[in-house]
């Protein structure tokens, strides 16, 4: 740790570091969301489907995020669980216009919640009901019903409708997540 960092830590200026895992089916908008959360000078213009995963680091006013952007394609979904241990928060992205695959999203969420590395931890989960701008998108209430979110009793969770392309709804979610992380004992 550099001297400057130490100084900043003593003065309370040092930002808390958190690992956030970003999960969701392919094409739900994970990479787009993370790209939006980055400072504008670091944003990528074209977003291509993620292969395997990619790691993004960025800072907000109070936290320093390390985000694992996991590929949502079926064949990569078994990689997710290897990152659960490191994760201190989860962002779960749902394409709210993909009604057909809502069951698949639910299945993956249930598998996540029942994983030994997640099951007994009070880890905050932020849900983005993304692509709310599309005509046939379901409301965030409907999405949370279909995913049975009311059954998550022992973890703080929050759902926001979002439009990742325009950046709408993202700030609300990230604010909630920051509050949760700040109140967490480490």
């Amino acid at each position: 740790m550099g001297l400057f960092d130490k100084l900043a830590g003593w003065l309370g200026l040092k930002k808390k570091e958190v690992n956030v895992i970003c999960l969701g089916l392919d094409n739900s908008g994970k990479t787009t969301i993370i790209n939006q959360l980055k400072p504008s000078n670091a944003q990528a213009q074209d977003i291509v489907p993620t292969i395997g995963f990619s790691i993004e680091k960025f800072k907000t006013s109070s936290l320093s995020f390390t985000v694992f952007d996991m590929s949502g394609q079926g064949r990569y979904r078994n990689l997710w669980e290897h990152y659960y241990k490191e994760g201190q928060a989860i962002i779960f992205v749902i394409d709210s216009s993909d009604k057909l695959r809502m069951v698949v999203a639910k299945e993956e969420l249930d598998t996540l919640l029942n994983h030994p590395d997640i099951k007994h931890r009070r880890i905050p989960i932020l849900f983005f009901a993304n692509k709310m701008d599309l005509r046939d998108a379901l409301s965030s209430v409907k999405v949370s019903q279909l995913l049975c979110l009311e059954n998550i009793k022992d973890k703080p969770w929050h759902i926001c409708a979002s439009n990742a392309v325009q950046g709408e709804g993202l700030q609300e979610g990230v604010d909630w997540l920051q509050d949760q992380i700040r109140t967490m004992r480490t």
């Binding site: 089916l25 392919d26 094409n27 079926g74 064949r75 979904r77 078994n78 993909d98 009604k99 057909l100 695959r101 809502m102 069951v103 698949v104 299945e107 993956e108 249930d110 598998t111 919640l113 029942n114 099951k119 007994h120 931890r121 009070r122 046939d136 049975c148 059954n151 998550i152 009793k153 022992d154 973890k155 967490m184 004992r185």
Partner: protein, 588 residues
């Protein structure tokens, strides 16, 4: 940090291998597997469901496209579709597939869901005699009656079948003939056939996005291969019967195989450079579904069986199904290296078979008439089914699903292949076998004789018991009763308890009475006849009565109990109670 166990209602991992993605019982989709396909119509990586809907009754035939759970577009079809395929016609960008819908003698090609081209099957050869006769009619050399007679003569011994025009003419009433002849005589005669099945064949590359030819089977027992761009006939092959189901592999320019199930109950295998089928598989009943698994063919037959053959016609196995097959499809998951056969049955089940082993059963709400498995939307393992009642069912194979052969009960159990430690044969055993071998006939006879005697004796006893209602169980269907009796006491007073039970499932029994028959010199009873209350099914009714023994000679007798039904002369039940000797009298 506090940790509370996750308590979730739906958290328990369900054992099903399928996720229920969508079910619409009133989707109004009436179709068969041959008219359903999945294709990336818009080139956006999201597969659409394309259905040739046969509608109900006449009309309502539609080309429907679904995206996810919703209907994206509808085009009216002019005639009933018999088959539908998607294929890439050319190398132009964007590489979006075209849809070919076969109906009647035509193939309608749609590009970007707009009608693009109509292909018509070549006309068939005309019977020259028929042509002659019509030429005479055109020259007004013969009247309609003569025309009819001549055509009828030709019809009965024609090698080349007559045209539809002639056949229709032969059905007309005499007064309609003249106008019909005048209407048609100027036009040339045409003989058309219709398409019975359609498939695709890669032109010269094996890639997923390679250009494909259309392969069509016709009612005239031919198979045609069409060029994808010019729609010219590249090849024509003849079959001994009408093709109904078809599977095509390979590439047209290199080597290909067409497996065709025909209406005569045979399967033929056509290859490049052979105008006639190379191999033939004769089935014991008609094929209703055809799936190719690698190099083998799996056929669903009308007699509730499924059979597998090599492409050279060698039979590999047969499996018996619990109900008739309605349709079949291949379950292919290349990413997981898994292949299986999906068989829809008339008992509202879809079975998944790996070889002859049943690995999964899906129950459906209605009989499935079409199955399509593949990538739908962005999900690779999607199973799409339509039902007899017009419903649409979409299921998605779980990412974690594993098909275990041992899940199934069919097939030989593992224990069968374990060798047993059989002891050596003893001398006694050998002698015994010798004796059995030498006296087999006599032993068999003796055994049969004893068996017959035993049966006779049993039957006699049974008849006797029935005739005299001697059994403690009533044989009557309307009053199924059970009774037992208990005698208590030392004498001379005895307590007699009769336990009566109505063994019917739910019907009460009424109007019963009990009467006793005994030697009046020996016993006396306060009441020798009384009525029984209504008997509720299943309950035990203990009925007590008292018997006085009158003799002090140490003798005893039988008391007969009859359960009687009002208005019936024979008793329902009879019980004989062996009374004990009265010991109590000595005390007096």
């Amino acid at each position: 940090m506090s940790s509370v166990p996750v308590e979730m209602k739906d958290g328990a991992v369900s054992s099903s291998k399928w996720l229920d993605a969508h079910y619409d019982p009133v989707a109004n989709l009436y179709t068969f597997s041959s008219c359903v396909t999945l294709a990336d119509l818009h080139g956006d990586g999201e597969n659409k469901l394309v259905v040739g809907d046969l509608g109900t009754g006449a009309g309502n035939m539609k080309l429907k496209v679904y995206r996810g759970t919703g209907l994206l577009s509808e085009n009216t079809l002019l005639d009933l579709p018999t088959g539908l395929v998607s294929f890439l016609m050319d190398q132009h960008e964007p590489r979006t597939p075209a849809i070919a819908v076969a109906s009647g003698p035509f193939i309608y090609i749609y590009k970007n869901l707009r009608p693009y081209f109509k292909f018509t099957l070549p006309t068939l050869e005309i019977n020259p005699l028929e042509q002659d006769v019509w030429n005479q009619a055109r020259g007004d050399m013969i009247d309609p009656m003569t025309l009819k007679e001549m055509l009828e003569g030709i019809r009965d011994k024609a090698d080349i079948p007559l045209s539809v025009r002639t056949l229709r003419f032969l059905m007309l009433e005499p007064q309609e003939m003249e106008s019909y002849v005048n209407l048609h005589k100027e036009q040339p005669i045409r003989r058309q056939t219709v398409i019975t099945c359609i498939a695709t064949l890669k032109k010269n590359m094996a890639d997923d996005d390679a250009v494909s030819c259309l392969v069509i089977g016709t009612e005239s027992q031919d198979v045609y291969i069409l060029d994808p761009e010019a729609f010219t006939i590249l090849s024509k092959m003849s079959l001994p019967s009408v093709p109904t189901l078809m599977d095509v592999t390979g590439q047209f320019d290199i080597e290909f195989r067409i497996i065709v199930a025909c209406r005569n109950g045979n399967i033929y295998i056509l290859r490049r450079d052979s105008q006639k089928p190379k191999y033939c598989i004769e089935l014991s009943s008609h094929p209703v579904g055809l799936v190719r698994m690698g190099k083998n063919v799996v056929v669903g037959c009308a007699q509730e069986t499924m059979q597998s053959f090599t492409q050279k016609g060698k039979k590999l196995w047969t499996t018996y199904l619990p109900a008739p097959v309605t349709t079949m499809a291949l379950l292919d998951l290349p990413t997981r290296g898994f292949q299986a056969v999906l068989v829809a049955l008339a008992n509202c089940e879809v079975h998944v078979y790996r070889d002859k082993n049943l690995v999964s059963t899906i129950k459906t709400q209605d009989v499935v008439t079409s199955i399509c498995f593949g990538r739908y939307g962005r999900e690779d393992g999607t199973l799409i089914m339509t039902t007899k009642g017009g419903g649409l069912i979409v299921k998605i194979l779980k990412r974690t699903a594993v098909f275990d052969d041992r899940d199934s009960i069919s097939g030989p159990p593992v224990a069968q292949s374990i060798r047993l430690n059989v002891p050596k044969k003893t001398k006694l055993y050998v002698d015994q076998t010798m004796r059995e071998r030498e006296n087999a006939v006599a032993m068999h006879r003796a055994f049969q004789m004893d068996l017959s005697r035993l049966r006779l004796a049993a039957a006699r006893a049974y008849v006797k018991a029935l005739e005299s209602s001697l059994t403690p169980m009533s044989a009557s269907l309307t009053e199924p009763l059970k009774m037992n009796a208990v005698v208590q006491g030392l004498g001379p007073s005895f307590k007699l308890t009769l336990n009566i039970q109505n063994t019917a499932a739910c019907r009460p029994v009424m109007n019963l009475a009990i009467s006793f028959l005994y030697d009046e010199n020996l016993y006396s009873m306060r009441t020798a006849f009384f009525k029984i209350p209504l008997l509720v099914p299943g309950l035990n009714y203990p009925i007590d009565t008292f018997v006085e023994c009158l003799s002090d000679k140490g003798i005893s007798d039988i008391i007969k109990v009859f359960v009687l039904k009002e208005g019936k002369s024979t008793p329902l039940l009879t019980a004989h109670i062996n009374m004990p000797v009265s010991e109590g009298l000595a005390l007096n």
